[in-house]
C-alpha cells in the first residue's frame, strides 16, 4: 500500500498548525506538525518529509535557520516559507537559501493549496526528467554485462534507494541472474540475490509491481529468507517488453521512516519501463552480434571448402593428364628399350658403339623411372585405415627425420594435449604427409636466423587440428595458391619433384580431412591439417 506524500507544518501558532493540518489532510497529504525549528529538526531525523511548510519567526530556532539546517542534511526536501505581511525581503532571503516557494500571511487557503500542489508537481517533473536523463545515458550501452551494472548504479540515485538489485531472466526462464549494488561476498548481497526466486514466483502470478511500506521480512511471500531484516521498505518492479518478462528491479531502503511513496512509485514505473527497453535492446544487439559472428564463421568455412574443392578439381584434372601422358609414353618406350636391348645382344660392335647403345637403353630406363613417379602421383593407393593415435603417428614421423633436423640445427617444439586424439587412418600415409611438411619446413629455414618448428595438436569439437609452424622464409603471396599444384616447386632444379605437397593433399583428402597453408613472405609458414576424430 502506497503511503501518501508527507508534509511537515512548522509554526509556533497552534491555530495555524491545526488549520493547515486539516486542510492539507483533506487534499490527501499526510501532515505532521512542529512548533519551532528545533522540534522540526527532531521530527525530520526520525521520518522523511517531502515538503516542509514553515513560519519564519519562531522561538528557539527560526524558519530561515531551520531551512539552512535541512538543506545541509536533506537537500531534496522542499521548503515553503510562510512570511508575514510586508516582509518580501525575508522571502527573497529564504529563496536564496534554498526555499522553493513562499506564501504570505495571512494566507488564502486556496493559494496555499495551490503553492503546495505546484511544489509537488515541480518535484515530480524534476524526478521524471531525472529518470529520462538517466535512461538516455543507459541506452547507449549495449554490452549486457556492463549495462546491468550501470542500471543498478543509476537506479540507486534515481529511486533514492539504499540498495538495488536487478534480476534478469536466465535461460531457464527464471529470474536466476542478478546484479546487486551491494559489495561482493556480503551476506546482505547474497540475501538480495536469493530474493530472485521468490520474485519470479510472484510475477508469474500477478505481473504487478510490488511497493511495500512494511519491512520485507514481514511479508508472507518473502518469509524465511535470512538476512533481509534490514529492509524497511521495498519496491519490486517487473521489466516487461511486449508482454514478456525480462527481469525485475528491486530497490530497498534500510532507514526507518522513509517509505516509498506514490512519487517514488511513479518514478520507478517510468524507470522500469525504460530499463526494460534498454535490457531488451542490449539483448537484441547481443543476439545480432552472435548471428554476425556465426555467419562470418560459416562464410570462412565456405571459402575454405571452395578452395579445397578447386584444388581437388585441379589435381584430378592434372592427374588424368599425367596418367594419359604416361600411358602414351609407355609404348614408345617399350620400343626404345626393346630394340636397344636387341641390338646390345649383337657382338660385332666396337666398344664405342657398344657404349652408345647402352646409352640409349639407359636413357630409356631413366624415362621409365620418371613416368613411374609421375604415375605414383596420379594413382592413389587406397588407404588401409585403422585407429591411430595422432600424436604417436606424428612423433614417429618426426623420429624418421630427426637426423636431418639436427643436421640442419632445427629445433622442434611440440604442443600436444594430455589426451591423445585418435583418428581413423593409414599411419604410413599420414606419416608420409607429416614428413613431407616437416622436410619442407626444414628447407624453408635454411637461411633463417631462428630455426624453430612448432608442431601443435589440438581438439576442436569432432576434429583434430594439427599444425606445423616454421620460422622460415615464408611463401610469397603469388605462390600461395600454387603450393598444392603438382610439379610446383621453388627448389633448385634436380632437388625434389614438386610432388610432395600435391600428394599430401590427396592423401589428406582420402582421409576426409583438410589441409591448408597460411604464410607470409619473411614471416614463416603454418601448415594446418584437420582430420575427423574416430568414433
Amino acid at each position: 500500500m502506497l503511503k501518501s506524500s508527507k508534509i511537515l507544518v512548522v509554526d509556533d501558532e497552534p491555530g495555524i498548525r491545526e488549520l493547515l493540518s486539516r486542510e492539507l489532510g483533506v487534499e490527501g497529504y499526510s501532515v505532521a506538525v512542529a512548533s519551532d525549528g528545533i522540534d522540526a529538526l527532531e521530527l525530520i531525523k526520525r521520518e522523511k518529509y517531502q515538503v516542509i511548510l514553515s513560519d519564519v519567526k519562531m522561538p528557539k530556532l527560526g524558519g530561515i535557520e531551520m531551512l539552512e539546517a535541512v538543506k545541509k542534511t536533506d537537500p531534496d526536501v522542499e521548503v515553503i516559507i510562510m512570511t508575514g505581511y510586508g516582509t518580501i525581503e525575508t522571502a527573497v532571503e529564504a529563496m536564496k537559501r534554498g526555499a522553493v516557494d513562499f506564501v504570505q500571511k495571512p494566507f488564502n487557503l486556496s493559494v496555499v493549496k495551490g503553492v503546495v500542489k505546484s511544489v509537488f508537481e515541480r518535484r515530480e517533473l524534476k524526478a521524471i526528467v531525472g529518470v529520462y536523463e538517466a535512461s538516455r545515458a543507459i541506452f547507449s550501452h549495449m554490452e549486457p554485462e556492463r549495462l546491468l551494472n550501470i542500471i543498478v548504479n543509476i537506479a540507486l540515485n534515481v529511486l533514492r534507494a539504499n540498495d538495488v538489485t536487478l534480476f534478469v531472466v536466465g535461460k531457464d526462464g527464471q529470474l536466476s541472474k542478478g546484479v546487486s549494488s551491494l559489495e561482493e561476498a556480503s551476506e546482505r548481497r547474497v540475501a538480495r540475490l536469493a530474493l530472485g526466486a521468490r520474485i519470479s514466483a510472484h510475477f508469474q502470478q500477478w505481473k504487478e509491481p510490488l511497493v511495500l511500506s512494511e519491512p520485507l521480512a514481514k511479508v508472507v511471500h518473502f518469509s524465511n529468507i535470512p538476512k533481509i531484516e534490514d529492509i524497511e521498505a521495498a519496491m519490486i518492479f517487473p521489466l516487461v517488453v511486449n508482454g514478456e518478462l525480462l527481469g525485475a528491479l528491486n530497490a530497498n531502503r534500510t532507514s526507518k521512516g522513509d517509505p516509498f511513496t506514490a512519487e517514488d512509485a511513479r518514478s520507478a514505473t517510468i524507470f522500469s519501463s525504460q530499463m526494460a527497453q534498454a535490457v531488451y535492446n542490449a539483448r537484441l544487439f547481443q543476439a545480432l552480434e552472435e548471428k554476425v559472428k556465426k555467419l562470418k564463421e560459416a562464410n570462412d568455412q565456405l571459402e575454405r571448402t571452395k578452395a579445397q574443392l578447386l584444388q581437388s578439381e585441379k589435381l584430378a584434372a592434372l592427374g588424368q593428364l599425367a596418367a594419359s601422358v604416361a600411358h602414351e609414353l609407355n609404348n614408345p618406350l617399350t620400343g626404345i628399350m626393346g630394340f636397344s636391348q636387341l641390338l646390345l645382344e649383337g657382338s660385332h660392335w666396337t666398344p664405342q658403339q657398344q657404349e652408345d647403345l647402352e646409352g640409349i637403353y639407359n636413357e630409356g630406363k631413366r624415362c621409365r623411372g620418371i613416368i613411374q613417379s609421375l604415375l605414383k602421383f596420379s594413382r592413389r593407393r587406397e588407404p588401409k585405415k585403422e585407429p591411430c593415435d595422432i600424436v604417436e603417428t606424428i612423433d614417429e614421423a618426426l623420429a624418421l627425420i630427426d637426423h636431418e633436423c639436427s643436421m640442419a640445427c632445427v629445433q622442434i617444439e611440440k604442443e600436444y594435449p594430455i589426451d591423445h586424439p585418435v583418428v581413423y587412418g593409414d599411419p604410413s600415409q599420414l606419416q608420409q604427409v607429416f614428413i613431407n611438411i616437416s622436410k619442407n619446413a626444414v628447407q624453408a629455414m635454411k637461411a633463417a636466423a631462428v630455426k624453430r618448428l612448432i608442431v601443435a595438436v589440438r581438439i576442436d569439437g569432432d576434429r583434430v587440428i594439427v599444425s606445423f609452424r616454421d620460422s622460415g622464409c615464408g611463401i610469397p603471396v603469388e605462390n600461395l595458391s600454387k603450393v598444392f599444384d603438382p610439379f610446383f616447386t621453388t627448389k633448385p632444379a634436380g632437388e625434389g619433384t614438386g610432388l610432395g605437397l600435391s600428394v599430401s593433399y590427396g592423401l589428406i583428402q582420402d582421409h576426409r580431412g583438410k589441409i591448408y597453408i597460411d604464410s607470409e613472405e619473411g614471416g614463416g609458414t603454418t601448415v594446418t591439417i584437420e582430420l575427423p576424430i574416430a568414433g
Binding site: A323, A326, H327, N330, N331, L333, T334, G335, I336, M337, G338, F339, Q341, L342, G364, R368, I371, Q372, L375, S378, R379
Partner: protein, 122 residues
Amino acid sequence: MNKKSILIVEDEGIIQRLFLRLLGPLGHGLVCAGGLAEGIQKMKVQRLDLLITDLKLPDGAGIDVIRHFKEKFPRSDVLIVTASLTPEEQLRRASAMGVTKYLYKPFEAKELLSAVRSALKN
C-alpha cells in the same frame, strides 16, 4: 623341340615387330593380330598354345580377346602385356578367368623371355 604357336595381339606395328624380334630366336610359331576382330579370326585358323595381348585395343578390350581365347583353348596360357595404368576392374576380371601372368610396359627383354618360357612349360 616341341614347336608351339603364339598369338600376339598388339595394335602398334613397331611393338609387334619388337615381339617378333625378341621371341623369334625361341623357335616357336608367331602369329600377329592388330586388334580384337583380327585376333578372333586368327584363333579360328589354327591351334594356339599362348596368347600375348595388351588390354587396350583399337576395336575392343583385351579382356574380350582373352575370353574368346580361353573358350577356344582352355588349356593354353595367357600373358597380359600392358601399360602400367590399367583399371583394377579389368585386372580383376582377367584374374577371374585364370590369368596370372602380367608384364608391364616398358619391360625388360629378359622378363618377356622368362615369362613366355614359363607359360609354355605347362
